[in-house]
Amino acid sequence: MNEDNKNFEEKLGKAIRQLAKETIFVPPAKDDEIVGGIRKRFDRQFLNKKKEKIPAKKIVRVSRWQRWIPLAASILVAASILYFSRPASSRSVADVNGDGKVDVLDAFALANQLKSGASVSADVNGDGVVDEKDVREIAARAVRLEEGDRS
């Protein structure tokens, strides 16, 4: 009995070792069938989960001009900042009559204001007082030659 057992063990061991050496042939059709089945099952599970948890995204169509809205808004904001951050009065102090240019009429206007005793704020030379010197300063600026005038 013991001998039979011993033979059996040997035969079994031999058979197992032989099995490990042999390559088991699985037909490609069967292999594909198994893989296809797993994939179908897996996909079904995954899609069900997706449907449950993640709501479908709403697709919003944006026209071509709407794409420029953020850029336009940025420019608008930047322009506003620049506009409001400039000095309260960018007009030259020497432009007494406020016509947008400095000429002899500004000197004349200031001279008239000084003569009449009206309150004046055109401290053109920045010495703290508005007087005849400011009138002369404006007149001097009025007759100044620009770069293109010189020769």
Binding site: A139, A142, V143, L145
Partner: protein
Amino acid sequence: MKRSFSPLEALIEVVGFAILLACLLAPRVQAQSRFAIYDLFIDPQAEPLAAYQVKIKASSGHVKIISVEGGEHPAFKAAPYFVPTAIQKETIKLAAFSTVTAKELPEQQTRVASIHIQFDESEAVKFDLKLQAAATVNGRPIEPRLRLVERAQE
């Protein structure tokens, strides 16, 4: 001892001698400069002239402005405003104003300023005259007529 004379040396000597001869014999042509006075007249066309600003630019001729003087009317007797850097140049801006009453201001054509110039006699002198500003009393803008006339030689 016989001196060797290369063609290049000969050429240099000939050219050098020719230049020297040309310099010595050339007639001395020197531009004659002349002085003149130009009077600036303003006709405010029946409006009292209280202020003016004029730009004068020599558009032809080799001109240098050498001085500026005031006008004939009491309101513009003093020399007008101008920048000293305009002297010796061909462009100048003149400006003047008067704060006297309208009755004391000129309403007809008057000489408001004069400029003294130096120019090349060989070239004709021509000026561009541009009114930059003019006003009557209270600063009201007006459009007067301008004239720049060469004063007759005495």
